[in-house]
Structure formats: structure tokens, C-alpha cells
């Protein structure tokens, strides 16, 4: 759980940084070149298989864990207990939103890039940029993104520091730092991701 989760976090950073090329005003040439490179590098290919595997493992383990843990208390309290954070109590639900998001997201871009009919840009690259712009010019699609990114933020608010605790890293000097950096990460990464669809939506609205 913790190792797959932290691996997914490292993926988030690179994915978010790479996609920032969507903000370049060149009609998507840089982004399309990047998308081409990412689908044609043997190293990225290998890492991507590890990534697919990690997502599946993480989701299956997480859902099995959440289900089993629910079963450890068959009779419920009449008066609810709130002595833990909202995120920590709802990791299974937040994760399920992320899973739904990942499926929709991969259908929209990953599937289209690999098997869809896409035109070429000025450089003769597959024009994924136009597919992205078409998707992000629909307000409801952008809204779905924002909701999912909010779920991601909550998932990570609990998840990042939790992963360190799971692998046994808890220290009076370093844990406060881990918690602070983890919270900044949990908010900054989804926020930076959110800029991309919002930027494109507002650009197409003009």
C-alpha cells in the first residue's frame, strides 16, 4: 500500500510537470512532441507497465483493506466518532473516485493516443493536443477533473504521511517535517494539475 502509493506520488510529479507544456502557446507542438517521446521511449514503456501494475495493485489492496476493516466492527456506534481526520476515514471512497477518474482519463487520452484516429500537427506528430483541448473545452469535463483533483488532494493529505508511518518512519525530529511537506505536496500537486484544464477552458471561452 505505502510503497505503491509513494511510487504513484513520484509519477504524479513527472506527469504534472510534463503536462505543463499544455500552457505553452505554440498550438501544441511541444506537447505533441512530448507525447510522442513518452510513447516511444523503451525506458518510459517499462516504467509505464510498472505504473499500470502499481495502480491496479494499490486499488485492489486498498479496496480489500477498506472492506475487511469495515468488517472488523459488525455492530456500529449510534453516536459517531470524529477523533480522526475526514480524509483518513474516507480513503476507500476517495480512492474509488480516483479509480473512476483514472478509467475515464485513460479512455480520453491514453486510449486515443494509442488506438484512436487522431490528425497530425504541423510537425507531423499525432495531434493529442487538439484532443486535450476538445475535452477541456467542455465545462462538465473540467468540473469532473476539479472534483477528482480535490479527491486526490484529500487522499494525499492523509496518504503521504501515512505511508511514512506504515514503513516505520516516525521520528520526533523528522515526522513534523514529513507531515508539513506531505500536506504541501497534497495541495500543490492537485492545484498545479487543475491549472491545465482551467487554462484551456478559459482560453476556449474567449
Amino acid at each position: 500500500m505505502s510503497l505503491s502509493g509513494l511510487f504513484l506520488c513520484t509519477f504524479l510529479i513527472t506527469h504534472m510537470a510534463g503536462n505543463m507544456q499544455l500552457l505553452i502557446n505554440d498550438g501544441g507542438l511541444a506537447f505533441n512532441q512530448y507525447a510522442y517521446d513518452m510513447t516511444h521511449s523503451p525506458i518510459i514503456k517499462t516504467v509505464s507497465y510498472l505504473l499500470y501494475f502499481s495502480i491496479l495493485l494499490h486499488a485492489v489492496q486498498g479496496l480489500v483493506l477498506a472492506y475487511a476493516n469495515r468488517g472488523a466492527r459488525k455492530s456500529r456506534y449510534a453516536s459517531g466518532n470524529k477523533s480522526s481526520s475526514f480524509a483518513s476515514r474516507n480513503m476507500g471512497i476517495l480512492g474509488s473516485i480516483l479509480l473512476l477518474f483514472i478509467v475515464v482519463h485513460m479512455k480520453s487520452f491514453w486510449f486515443e493516443m494509442h488506438w484512436g484516429t487522431i490528425g497530425n500537427d504541423a510537425n507531423g506528430m499525432r495531434d493529442l493536443y487538439s484532443v486535450v483541448v476538445a475535452a477541456f473545452s467542455q465545462w462538465w469535463y473540467v468540473l469532473f477533473y476539479i472534483v477528482s483533483l480535490a479527491a486526490l488532494a484529500f487522499h494525499l493529505l492523509h496518504g503521504v504521511q501515512s505511508a511514512f508511518q506504515t514503513v516505520g518512519v516516525n521520528h520526533s525530529k523528522y515526522t513534523p517535517i514529513i507531515k508539513a511537506v506531505g500536506s504541501i505536496f497534497a495541495i500543490a500537486v492537485p492545484a498545479l494539475f487543475a491549472i491545465q484544464p482551467l487554462y484551456i477552458l478559459f482560453k476556449t471561452l474567449q
Binding site: L65, A68, N69, R70, G71, A72, R73, K74, S75, R76, Y77, A78, S79, G80, N81, K82, S83, S84, S85, S88, R89, M91, H158, Q161, S162, Q165, T166, V167, G168, V169, N170, H171, S172, T175
Partner: protein
């Protein structure tokens, strides 16, 4: 003052339970929560009704028997306080108070608020001991232990095994209890010979008893009447990792 109580009543381990409403009058704010229940039970006995069963023993915050969940919180609203040390000034006149047993599959209800916590005893039996030679008692300070280690081990040892951690945890996990016992014994030289075996066996027994798995929500630490820290859980995770990597089984 007067209180409206909503108390879980259950005749026996196999019967269905339900919340029953009671009102209790003449509650003094200097009474402890258990004394308030004594007053209620006296009323019930006079009326010829079955008194509410609840566990208690020392009534001074050290035995860990007084298990109950008050308004959704194990041992009630005060931090680092057992039910027997909780005073009625924590409540307002006319307030409605929910009183339920600790709920977990591994803590089956015996009657009303009394639950069977012998699963904790079996976790202790699985490894919560040290080997000592028989004969004269050894001089207390014959093995030098540095102050910081002694203090940290002692902090873990202050766990009274009440089960509030399990009751508070959304997963009904016993990791805080088990890790406190593992930390207490594994940190000291006296616990060294059984160190790896203790960790693996106590964790195995904990799982066997049907407690849930830890997801680091921290509710246990927040509700622990003795302030046991979840650093012990991280420590047990390390100990467990080491023990399973280096162990023969």
C-alpha cells in the same frame, strides 16, 4: 442536575441489543461518571428493573476496566481520562448522553456495557513476557539503561490495556495496544532474547483475534487515556519488518 441517557442494553452475548432511554435526577457535578451510573442503577433496582451492567475495578484510572463509549468517544469527552476519572461537570443540565459498549468483533458484548477483552490477554500470552532466571530478585539497577530509552519504554508501559484504542479506531484495530507492549519489552535489554519472536507472535495473535488493520488515522492516540503515541506503531512496523526478514520463519 438531570440527564437524559441513551444506554445500550443487551441481555447476553447472543441477544440483540438496543438503545434504551433513561433519565437520571440528582446528579452532582462532583460525581464521577461511574457514580452517576451507580445512582441510575440504584433507581432501577428500587423499581425492580435490571441494573445496567458495566465493568469497573480501581476507579482511580489505573486498571483500565471502565470501558464505555460516551457520546461517541471512548471514556468520554475529557482527554487522557478514564471513565472513572471523568466528572459530571463535563456535562450540562438536561444534556442527552449516549452510552455504548466498546464495539469490535474481537470485543464481544457480554451484557449491556460490559465486553469481553480476553483477546488482549491472548495477545499478551503470545509474546508479552520476558525470561528471567529463578532465584533471588536481581538488584533493580544492575543493568545500565540510558535514561532516554528507559523513559520511552516506560511511556509505552503506561498502557493500561483498556481497549479504548480499538473502540476509537474505525477499523477496530489493536495496533496501538500491541505496539505499546512490543515497544515496552523490545526496547529493554531484559526483552532482547525474545525480541523477534515476540513481535511476530503478538502480531499474528492480534490478526487471529479479528482486529482490523491499521490505516494510521490516529484516532487511537487521540482517545488513549494514557496518551500512548503512535510512534510505537511505527516502531512495531520496523521491528516486524526486521523480524520477518531475519527470522527463520
Amino acid at each position: 442536575m438531570k440527564l437524559n441517557l441513551k444506554i445500550w442494553r443487551q441481555k447476553g452475548p447472543k441477544s440483540e441489543g438496543k438503545i434504551v432511554d433513561y433519565t437520571v435526577d440528582h446528579v452532582d457535578e462532583d460525581m464521577s461518571f461511574l457514580e452517576m451510573l451507580d445512582v441510575l442503577n440504584q433507581d432501577l433496582i428500587v423499581k425492580g428493573e435490571d441494573p445496567v451492567a458495566f465493568d469497573h475495578d480501581c476507579r482511580e484510572g489505573i486498571c483500565g476496566m471502565c470501558s464505555m463509549v460516551i457520546n461517541g468517544r471512548p471514556h468520554g469527552p475529557w482527554e487522557r481520562t478514564t471513565t472513572c476519572q471523568l466528572h459530571m461537570r463535563a456535562f450540562k443540565d438536561g444534556e442527552t448522553v449516549f452510552i455504548e459498549p466498546f464495539r469490535a468483533n474481537a470485543f464481544p458484548v457480554l451484557k449491556d456495557l460490559a465486553v469481553d477483552r480476553s483477546s488482549f490477554d491472548r495477545i499478551i500470552q503470545a509474546g508479552g513476557y520476558i525470561s528471567v532466571n529463578t532465584g533471588n530478585a536481581v538488584d533493580a539497577n544492575s543493568i545500565p539503561i540510558d535514561k532516554e530509552t528507559a523513559d520511552t519504554a516506560f511511556d509505552a508501559a503506561t498502557c493500561i490495556g483498556c481497549g479504548a484504542c480499538v473502540a476509537a479506531c474505525k477499523n477496530a484495530s489493536a495496533m496501538l495496544f500491541t505496539s505499546a507492549k512490543v515497544a515496552h519489552l523490545n526496547m529493554l535489554p531484559q526483552g532482547e532474547p525474545e525480541r523477534a519472536k515476540r513481535t511476530v507472535q503478538m502480531v499474528a495473535q492480534m490478526d487471529k483475534e479479528g482486529f482490523g488493520a491499521c490505516t494510521n488515522t490516529g484516532a487511537c492516540e487521540a482517545e488513549c487515556p494514557k496518551g500512548i503515541s503512535i510512534t510505537n506503531i511505527a516502531r512495531m512496523n520496523r521491528e516486524y519488518f526486521k523480524a520477518t526478514i531475519t527470522g527463520s520463519k
